[in-house]
């Protein structure tokens, strides 16, 4: 299969990779069958019915309804198999399993900035252990980028102004390409790096190897204090703003709008554009923090709010 310098098939290192490859092989088989069928028929007809003195009368054939039905129905049936197969996998891959650890990634021209919840930061590199699901939450500081790990068969655009995510569980230790797949300007091709899939023990060692870094939630808590958020958002709800305890994932009742689930996008919007969704019972007095906080800062505050508990239940804090 492999010549020294001519790989023909990509490495595979995630739990979902096999499913994608199997569908790919099915598609290849169907494509090869039809291409061979068409090419053979054309070749045979072209030879057999070539114009020559002994065969110069074309037969007057105008069409055949049963044949038309047949070659409409068979491709339709096959393509429906492909659709359901591909859509099924896509649907499965869309939802991260419960308990997946979250890694925050910010794309900017032309680098990937990553931060683990435990605090360790990386640039253009991602270290993960095999055998544990991870959810990557993507943001962009400038233009659209796309986080692409071919060995995981996964790709997701990082879109400025919103959060997107993907998840994976690596299953084979090794070093794999990380690419930016969405053209993002001059050095698009250099916005690349490596994903290191490690054995769990090795990963723990790596994780603790960072020098004195605080967790993302701790950094977020500091920002929360420094930006003055805590002046209004008291944990017991007595302040001028609603409490953040148990906020993440809970249903928020809004003034004059249908309720929303407090996800990353909601928290981000509430910081940058507070008047967009005002919690019922509170005044629209919060100033915007647009321009005062970086994409990474936003992610840290989100991590902090997550640490205060989810779905209405208070958490451990830090």
């Amino acid at each position: 299969m492999m010549l020294p310098n001519l790989p023909l098939f990509p490495e595979r290192a995630s739990t979902i990779g096999a499913g994608v490859d199997h569908l790919y092989f099915f598609l290849l088989a169907v494509a090869a069958f039809f291409a061979t069928l068409i090419f053979t028929l054309i070749f045979v007809f072209a030879i057999k019915y070539r114009r020559r003195p002994a065969w110069n009368k074309a037969q007057p054939i105008h069409g055949s309804l049963p044949l038309e039905m047949l070659w409409t129905a068979i491709p339709l049936a096959l393509s429906m198999v492909m659709f359901f197969w591909g859509a099924g996998l896509y649907f499965e891959h869309a939802r991260a399993p419960r308990g997946a650890a979250e890694i925050y990634v910010v794309g900017k021209q032309w680098m990937w900035k990553l931060q683990h919840p435990e605090g360790r930061r990386e640039i253009n590199e991602l270290h993960v252990p095999a055998g544990r699901p991870f959810k990557i939450i993507l943001a962009s500081e400038d233009v659209i980028h796309s986080f692409y790990v071919p060995a995981f068969r996964l790709k997701q655009d990082a879109v400025p102004g919103r959060y997107t995510s993907l998840w994976f569980e690596a299953n084979k230790a090794g070093k794999y390409h990380l690419f930016c797949a969405q053209y993002c300007g001059t050095n698009h091709a250099l916005m690349a790096g490596w994903v290191y899939v490690m054995e769990p023990v090795e990963y723990e060692r790596w994780l603790s190897g960072g020098t004195g870094s605080e967790t993302m939630a701790m950094a977020g808590e500091k920002l929360f204090e420094n930006l003055g958020c805590a002046n209004c958002h008291h944990p017991d709800g007595s302040g001028r703003g609603p409490s953040q305890v148990g906020l993440f994932g809970s249903k928020v009742v809004l003034a004059g709008a249908p309720p929303v689930i407090a996800d990353e996008a909601y928290i981000r919007e509430s910081i940058l554009n507070p008047a967009a969704k005002v919690v019922a019972g509170y005044q629209p007095i919060m100033p915007t923090f647009q321009g005062q906080i970086s994409e990474e800062g936003l992610l840290q505050i989100i991590a902090y709010i997550k640490s205060l508990g989810r779905d209405g239940k208070s958490g451990t804090g830090q």
Binding site: P7, L23, A31, L41, R51, A58, V143, K155, A181, H188
Partner: protein, 535 residues
């Protein structure tokens, strides 16, 4: 057959007689000259791209130049060559001739459409000469509106203006086909080329305004900072992708439908048989045009679009594959028990079917959600759309040029050279683009000026193929020009083809037909006797 005394070519010789002509045949030639120039400019850019990719770090140019090369290549080839190619050249020449009319419904509008095309092309060339555009032909926001320092505005203006030439051409074709058909030429006697151009014209009229508005919005945001696409200004970058692909996906069918029409003319002629399943081939063109408007979201599977929207668009994308499959099966069945000759147009038609089949089948891969997540924005997609737009559309265009060249010029080209060109292009094309499927599944992203070294062997193969392909494209340029002076006289119907255009001298007189023809039979009424005559 003696040299025709009076025809559209010798009706007037001055520059004015060309630049102010309202003769659809002369306008077709004006288009032919303009788009041929642009094709070779776009081709030269492709050549530079391929040479640069010979080494992992880039052989010739750096990132900034490389990004301009692939952007300008895409823009010129799509907006200034492929979209106008068959409709504006062969369509302009043939629509009136195939229906027995003397011109299109609006001859002066037709001339205006050429001037709009030239105006738009000049703006594009100004933008290229003054430094080029580096956004990719897709102009994704907010890069194109806020971050790019390149000449986005003149290019967008050029495409905006050229769009009106498409709209006017589409309008002209629809009105002409509706109102000017010769007596007896009912809808189901129309040559299939006209069905395909009719479907194409619908897309021109409905789709082109959307790209024009979208580019106008890009301009507004770029000049005045109106927040439409840039989230920093309150806009939505993904909105741009919806608007852009609402036109640009149907635009792919603008490129391929006319080529399918050409092939539907060539195959019956050289198989000496009526096309198999006329009405299925005809209605599949309309089905492609209609369904083609409903699949744009398959370009957004990894953009953050809702997964449910992704599923709907995937489903519809599989549906649009069916009419294409029906066409391929019908062309193949037309060969059955035919009397098949291997003249140059037929070789191009075979090449078209081969490459289009591969392009169409790989379309199933990218329509399939989970596989597209992996191959999206990789060389797999690059290979897929080149198989459709170059392997399919350009093969069809060249097949049509070779088929109708005797009618257009009154001369025959050297057959051996022409057959060789079809073979060289077919082989060169496959060597260029087949390795790119492998690169894509391996994970090589598109629009990279530098790449990891393990991809080099496949890139070198691709570049080698592109050299052969380039020679292949130069060959027709040389021998077709040569034939204008030295080619044998063609006579009115060198292929023994049916169709009204073959019932008038080559080159045709300015008024196309001396007497308005009357149609008494179906299209492609090839009989055995005609086959005998042409043995």
């Amino acid at each position: 057959m003696s040299e025709p005394t009076e025809n559209y070519l010798n009706a007037g010789y001055g520059l004015k007689s060309w630049l102010l002509t309202t003769d659809h045949k002369r306008i077709a030639l004006l288009y032919l000259i303009s788009i041929t120039l642009l094709f070779f400019v776009g081709g030269a850019l492709a050549g530079l791209i391929r040479v640069n990719l010979l080494t992992p770090q880039g052989l010739l140019v750096g990132a900034e130049t490389y990004n301009r090369l692939f952007t300008m290549h895409g823009l010129i080839m799509i907006f200034f060559f492929l979209i106008p190619s068959i409709p504006a050249v062969l369509g302009n020449f043939l629509v009136p001739m195939m229906i027995g009319a003397r011109d299109l419904a609006f001859p002066r509008l037709n001339l205006l459409s050429w001037y709009l095309f030239v105006g738009g092309s000049l703006l594009a060339i100004v933008s290229a000469v003054t430094g080029g555009v580096d956004t990719g032909w897709t102009f994704y926001t907010p890069y194109s509106t806020t971050y790019s320092n390149s000449h986005v505005l003149p290019m967008a203006a050029g495409i905006f203006i050229t769009g009106f030439s498409s709209i006017l051409t589409g309008l002209n074709f629809i009105v002409t086909i509706h109102t000017m058909r010769a007596p007896g030429l009912t809808w189901f006697r129309l040559p299939l080329f006209l069905w395909s151009l009719y479907a194409t014209s619908i897309i021109f009229i409905l789709g082109t305004p959307v790209i024009a508005i979208t580019l106008a919005l890009v301009g507004l945001e770029r000049i005045f900072g109106v927040g439409i696409f840039n989230p920093g200004l309150g806009g939505d970058p993904v909105l741009f992708q919806h608007l852009f692909w609402f036109y640009s996906h149907p635009a792919v069918y603008v490129m391929i439908l006319p080529a399918m029409g050409v092939v539907s003319e060539i195959i019956p002629c050289f198989a000496r048989k009526r096309i198999f399943g006329y009405s299925f081939v005809a209605f599949s063109s309309v089905a492609i045009a209609v369904l083609g408007f409903l699949v744009w979201g398959h370009h957004l599977f990894v953009s953050g679009q809702s997964i449910y929207a992704g599923m709907v668009f995937s489903f519809l994308s599989f549906l649009v594959a069916i009419p294409s499959a029906i066409k391929v099966f019908n062309w193949t069945a037309t060969l059955y028990k035919g009397s098949i000759a291997f003249d140059t147009p037929m070789l191009y038609a075979f090449g078209f079917i081969g490459l289009f089949t591969i392009g169409g089948l790989t379309g199933l891969f990218v329509a399939s959600l989970a596989v597209d997540v992996h191959v999206h924005d990789t060389y797999f997609v690059v290979a897929h759309f080149h198989y459709i737009m170059v392997g399919g559309a350009v093969m069809g265009y060249l097949g049509g040029i070779h088929y109708w060249w005797p009618k257009i010029s009154g001369r025959l080209y050297p057959e051996a050279w022409a057959r060789l060109s079809a073979v060289v292009i077919f082989l060169g094309f496959n060597l260029t683009f087949f390795p790119q499927f492998l690169l894509g599944y391996l994970g090589m992203p598109r629009r990279y000026h530098a790449y990891p070294p393990e991809f080099q062997v496949l890139h070198v193969m691709s570049t080698a193929g592109s050299t052969i392909l380039g020679f292949g494209y130069l060959m027709p340029l040389v021998y077709l020009l040569w034939s204008l002076k030295y080619g044998a006289l063609a006579g009115s119907n060198p292929w023994g083809a049916t169709g009204l255009e073959w019932r008038t001298p080559s080159p045709p007189p300015t008024e196309d037909f001396e007497h308005t023809p009357v149609v008494a039979e179906e299209a492609y009424a090839y009989s055995g006797e005609e086959a005998e005559q042409h043995v």
